[in-house]
């Protein structure tokens, strides 16, 4: 029987080469490295220096970590590249099937007038702002041309329940037409004020998911969200509970939009969500569109980050005490950091989700790359209008100049300021936001609030994962476990 061959007999004689990666100085002592498939690695500054000078010893832990995570290549084997390619395909799988999310702006009318409203709504009694059946039919026909086998229909407004006739028409017409060929999911984004028994039964019958807006305690919610029929807080809480009872807790989610008042009360807002029975909260800052653009800088990015930081720390503490609640935006980012998968979150993609992942059909038949593009058109700028359901074909709308310009200018891999960013793989591009804020589709990262805010939150999460306690690391893992559903669109 032959003896054992020593370990050196199996080592590669090749000097190592770099595989693509980004890096940043994380602290005085450490560097963060990330690669195109979302794997990350913290290195001591001295190891990092040796690594880039190609003098890192192949028996060091740092070397093995870099090799295992495909930051370096030290053999002529094709396997590492093949594995990287597979992982890259998996990360970019959100592009499979092309446009999956279709927003139908059923009406601009609304019974609320929220001071941060981004939807350019009009009072509920106005006429001429509803989508009619013919427009809806043409929009559904276009939607069904999309190659994906599973599509998501999202009813938006204004307040979509104010045009319930067209909403039910779209459900029934699309169900009928898609029968067996495609799977359809329906979501209604509603303030719930006009939800009655008839509508509730309809939601149940057609398995329509409810997404609502809820800003927290009464003194914040009623200040942010003015309702023509009294206290929005009272009616919203009442209707949320009705939906939870009638349709199930897992059939409703809520978004909170942070106003200047909100950011002073992170804990009260989280407490209110827990009190009502939500197991998830999605914290969102005001975006500079629509009416919210009018008020000059409501709060700065650092102020928002402080709010987010406090709220997240509080959410972690609640979980530590056995109260199960997830923060939705962290959940999306953690999915990008901790899993090999793509997320379904269309607002943080490269290339941008606008147009290729989702599209908005306006009440008047115009098709926009996003809700924000619709807002721009409202003030006379039609740069991101992709076409019209009456006059344009599927191939023109989904293959025309508007969508091509968006894709060309929204790959973080090549955008100035993004291409070398260590957070690139966890982030995404928002060309329409760049256009709105900088008059330039490419934008300017050093002065971009979008960039500053995302970097702040990504850094915070990596900080927790790198130096947080074991409980927090496992909590974050549980948020991205396949058993934990509820990642918002």
């Amino acid at each position: 029987m032959r003896g054992l061959l020593p370990v050196d007999a199996f080592r590669n004689a090749f000097p190592y080469r770099f595989l693509p990666f980004q890096f940043m100085r994380w602290s005085d002592k450490e560097y963060l490295l990330t690669n195109i498939v979302g794997e990350s690695c913290f290195l001591q500054a001295s190891d990092f220096t040796s690594f880039v000078q190609k003098t890192l010893s192949d028996s060091s832990c740092a070397y093995k970590e870099l090799k295992s995570k495909h930051f370096l290549l030290d053999s002529d084997s094709k396997l590492p590249i093949e594995l990287l390619a597979t992982k890259y395909r998996t990360k970019k799988a959100f592009m499979e099937g092309f446009t999956r999310l279709h927003l139908f702006i059923l009406t601009l009318r609304c019974d609320h007038s929220c001071h941060y409203c981004a939807a350019s709504s009009v009072p509920a009694n106005q006429s001429g702002y509803d989508m009619d059946r013919e427009t809806a039919k043409r929009a559904v026909d276009l939607m069904l041309c999309c190659p994906s086998n599973s599509l998501k229909v999202e009813f938006q407004g204004g307040e979509p329940f104010l045009n319930f006739d067209t909403m039910s028409f779209i459900c029934e017409y699309s169900e009928d037409r898609a029968a067996r060929e495609k799977q359809l999911e329906y979501v209604v984004c509603t303030n719930l004020a006009s939800l009655d028994k008839e509508k509730l039964d309809y939601l149940k019958q057609h398995s329509i998911f409810v997404s609502t807006s809820f800003d927290g305690p009464r003194f914040i919610h009623d200040e942010n969200r003015r309702y023509c029929g009294g206290s929005s807080y009272d009616i919203t809480v009442d209707k949320i509970k009705t939906v939870m009872t009638e349709l199930g807790r897992d059939r409703i989610s809520a978004l909170m939009t942070a106003s200047t008042l909100s950011i002073q009360h992170p804990q009260e807002i989280v407490d209110e969500y827990v009190k009502i029975g939500f197991e998830s909260i999605f914290l969102r800052s005001i975006r500079p569109y629509g009416r919210s653009q009018v008020r000059e800088s409501q709060y700065s990015v650092p102020e928002y980050l402080e709010f987010y930081h406090t709220a997240l720390a509080y959410i972690i503490e609640l979980n530590r005490h056995g109260i199960h609640i997830v923060e939705g935006f962290a959940q999306v980012l953690l999915g990008k950091i901790l899993t090999p998968f793509a997320t379904g979150f269309v607002d943080l993609q490269s290339p941008t989700g606008s147009g290729i992942s989702f599209v908005a059909y306006n009440y008047d038949g115009n098709v926009y790359a996003s809700d924000e593009a619709r807002m721009l058109a409202k003030i006379g700028d039609e740069t991101f209008r992709m076409g019209n359901v009456y006059s344009d074909s599927y191939s023109y709308i989904f293959g025309g100049s508007a969508i091509r310009a968006l894709v060309d200018n929204s790959c973080v891999e090549v955008l100035p300021g993004c291409s070398e960013c260590a957070f690139q793989v966890y982030c995404g591009a928002d060309p329409i936001h760049n256009y709105t804020t900088h008059d330039d589709i490419v934008g300017h990262r050093p002065t971009s609030d979008f960039c500053q805010q995302n970097k702040g939150i990504i850094r915070l999460l990596l900080e927790y994962l790198h130096s947080g306690d074991e409980f927090t690391r496992h909590l974050f893992l549980s948020w991205v476990s396949p058993y934990n559903t509820g990642v918002g669109s």
């Binding site: 995570k69 594995l83 549980s478 396949p482």
Partner: protein, 386 residues
């Protein structure tokens, strides 16, 4: 694995030239089923017709033989037959030794298809042989025909089964024909699965019954290669795994933990999660100190208690990611409390053993116990009743 029972010897009356294989019965059966069966009777009875059986074994002595009686050539006295159950499949060898090929009551039945292997793992419990194993194939095909139709799982093991090439495919096809409801567990190092054409042929007959169980010992290529003592072993195995995944054959990964790889166990399972996400099951296993392992214990042995932190982290990581994970061959007292629910009673019923103070343990009946081979010399120094 089939086992030779030393105390099960048969005194044959007539010399045999080849193995006689049959299914154990203890009562007379109709003539048409007899060629498949070996009848065990207490004594020879003049009034009974013994013709047509492939073998007849008597438990007590034999009286005067009536020479007009028709008996099969495999005819003899079996000294203690209590180890055999109706439905078991045995091979009576010309030497009089009995090999039990299949036990109806066991959930650990394996077809041992070859002793040859293209790797030479440091901790192999079944040292490879050089023989060509030509006689194993017909015995295995016969076992497949005779095994109970309700058998839930059957292992295919060696050696390295894929060295059989086309014969392995024929064997699996034979299982599909005779045991269509049995799940097959193919234990392979996966290296020859790098041949995509072979995997394609396998997939055509393997689905949905076959799971490939493949060992992966490190996320670092040369460390895995050292452990399996085969250059490019890591590359070939991972390529093989990717090919199997491409053809949708379910994959279980098996990690035997020892001194050479326990430190990177958390990194290894993260590598699996990131790169081989499609894996259906990961088994984290303690070493069985026999075969080649026995001679290499000085470089392999680490007290499982000393790697409980890595085992815990790896197990919790996989569970949180939704990957099925099991801990095999570990005693409950050597793993941390929060991962005890992942421990399985994985040691085959005929080679499991316990220590005297295990009798005082509350969890004795749910503990996987020890390898009989390990119990005298190699076990954790932290065994204690819990």
């Amino acid at each position: 694995m089939s086992s030779i029972l030393r105390h099960l010897r048969i005194n044959l009356f007539f010399p045999l030239t080849k193995n006689v294989i049959g299914r154990i019965v203890r009562a007379e059966i109709p003539a048409e089923a007899r060629p498949d069966s070996i009848l065990i009777a207490q004594f020879l009875d003049d009034d009974i017709d013994y013709s047509g059986y492939s073998g007849v074994l008597l438990e007590s002595g034999i009286g005067p033989i009536n020479h007009s009686m028709m008996v099969p050539s495999a005819f003899g006295i079996i000294e203690s037959s209590h180890a055999l159950t109706d439905g078991d499949v045995i091979a009576i060898q010309p030497s009089g030794m009995v090999r039990v090929l299949y036990r109806r009551e066991s959930s650990h039945n394996d077809l041992f298809v070859t002793g040859r292997c293209n790797s030479r793992c440091i901790m192999c419990s079944q040292p490879p042989t050089e023989s060509d194993d030509l006689d194993l194939l017909p015995d295995n095909l016969r076992t497949i025909e005779l095994a109970d139709k309700s058998t839930s799982t059957l292992g295919i093991t060696g050696g390295e089964p894929t060295l059989l090439k086309e014969d392995l495919l024929n064997l699996i096809a034979h299982c599909n024909r005779h045991l269509p409801h049995t799940q097959l567990h193919l234990l392979t190092n996966g290296r020859l699965m790098q041949n995509e054409a072979y995997v394609k042929k396998l997939a055509a007959i393997a689905l949905p019954n076959v799971t490939a169980a493949i060992p992966l010992y490190s996320d670092i290529d040369y460390e895995h290669d050292y452990i399996v003592q085969a250059r490019n072993g890591f590359e070939q195995t991972v390529h093989g795994i990717l090919n199997l995944a491409r053809y949708k054959i379910p994959i279980e990964l098996r990690i035997v933990i020892h001194k050479l790889n326990y430190l990177r166990l958390p990194q290894l399972v993260e590598f699996i999660y990131r790169n081989l996400t499609f894996t259906c099951h990961v088994a984290l296993m303690a070493l069985e100190p026999i075969g080649l392992a026995a001679g290499n214990m000085s470089i392999l042995w680490v007290d499982p208690f000393d790697y409980r932190a890595q085992l815990r982290e790896a197990t919790r990581f996989l569970a949180a990611r939704g990957l099925n994970v099991s801990i095999y061959n570990h005693q409950l007292c050597t793993v941390t409390e929060d991962v005890r629910s992942f421990c399985r009673q994985s040691i085959s019923d005929w080679k499991v053993a316990y220590l005297p103070y295990c009798e005082r343990c509350f969890y004795r009946s749910s503990c996987g116990g020890f390898f009989e081979s390990a119990i005298s010399r190699y076990h954790s120094t932290h065994i204690m009743p819990i």
